[in-house]
Symmetry: C2
Subunit: 214 residues, 2 copies
Amino acid sequence: MTSTQITHETTRKRLLEAAGQVFAQHGFEKATVREICRKANANVASVNYHFGGKEDLYAEVVAYGAQQSVEAFPPDRGLGPNPLPEAELNAFIHSFLCRFLKKNQRGSWYSTLCAREIVLPTRALDRVVREVIRPLSDRLEAIVRRLVPRASKLEVGRCARSIVGQCLFYHHGRPVIERMGGPKKYADADIRRLADHIARFSLQGLRGWKGRAA
Amino acid sequence: MTSTQITHETTRKRLLEAAGQVFAQHGFEKATVREICRKANANVASVNYHFGGKEDLYAEVVAYGAQQSVEAFPPDRGLGPNPLPEAELNAFIHSFLCRFLKKNQRGSWYSTLCAREIVLPTRALDRVVREVIRPLSDRLEAIVRRLVPRASKLEVGRCARSIVGQCLFYHHGRPVIERMGGPKKYADADIRRLADHIARFSLQGLRGWKGRAA
DNA sequence: TGACAAATCAAACAAATGTTTTAAACTATT
DNA sequence: AATAGTTTAAAACATTTGTTTGATTTGTCA
């Protein structure tokens, strides 16, 4: 890689990071190319030069953010070899919460962006589902299956959604939770406790499907 | 009310309904007053004349939609006198799902709008939380308390959020669920089954806090 | 009926914004 | 050092959009 390409990459990267913040803060429509470029110390035309346009930049940012997010908190974090499904579930839930609630050094715009994309989907969502969400979902269903081996495929899916729903609520519902007097920040210990609660609630909930066919 | 005021009211109402659809479809930013007025068979200036501006119209629409939604599906629907908390929980969950999943005659833009507002909050959210969400939340916590009387206030809150999270996931996660091969439409029987699943999962989950202090 | 207010309408206004253009600066290769 | 290709910069462009204006119509009441 020549040094020309290196500076190229750095402006690209600066734009990606700046765009992530601005898109997360204002949403796609209200975010302006001008603010992004100002934040990235780049010229207004640089977005069109490097990405082709605002929309393409956005798609790039979403994919970039989702991947970074999963790599930072893999769902099997801290698990030893041959883990019990109970431990796997706990790790899955904990990593899931971390992805959204932990304030990482970057400013954690990934999660906000992802939430927006889920509720207000654009073309970028298709790629995220394919590359990030689908594998995670498959993994969770495998864990659930081990916990309730007699349940039908449909029931396993429903139970998995019950678990994911609990996690995502703390993300999607954040503005509401704050306005209801809930916490604005989550320390590591808070996230740990939350994960333990959801894991306990869910393991108990799964008991309803244990040992009986659908 | 004079007939002048009646026509006034009807254009107002037409604008509210049209705006609800357009805002839900495109989001606040991308929705244009021109499209709203075209849909409402009204002049471009009518939004400013009747509401003062686009933002005020939006705030009005959000509040209007949230109220209509709860009135259409009250959380105590179909309950007899002195219901068991288990039945109350089931009714609460079922009405909650209906609010978001049932396609009502209006085109059900309420729910979409509400989801947008939760993820990308504006000033309008404060009012919705105060007037609609808070009372619903209080009701749910009261039900949960009856089911786990020994649990702490914090734990009751967490359990309530676990329940709401399961319901909301089918709303917020809809674009993802569809892309994962899930259903696009929910018939009444589907909603019923879903409610039963969530109620069962949750009642089972709550057992973890039954009969023991925090 | 006639006057007054409310409502509607077509047209214009003013601001913001994504994009394009054209030239300058920079980098690497010969 | 010269040149070709790449990247950056400032300014202008074209379009969209919320809002305002002033005239016109509609409805009500004396």
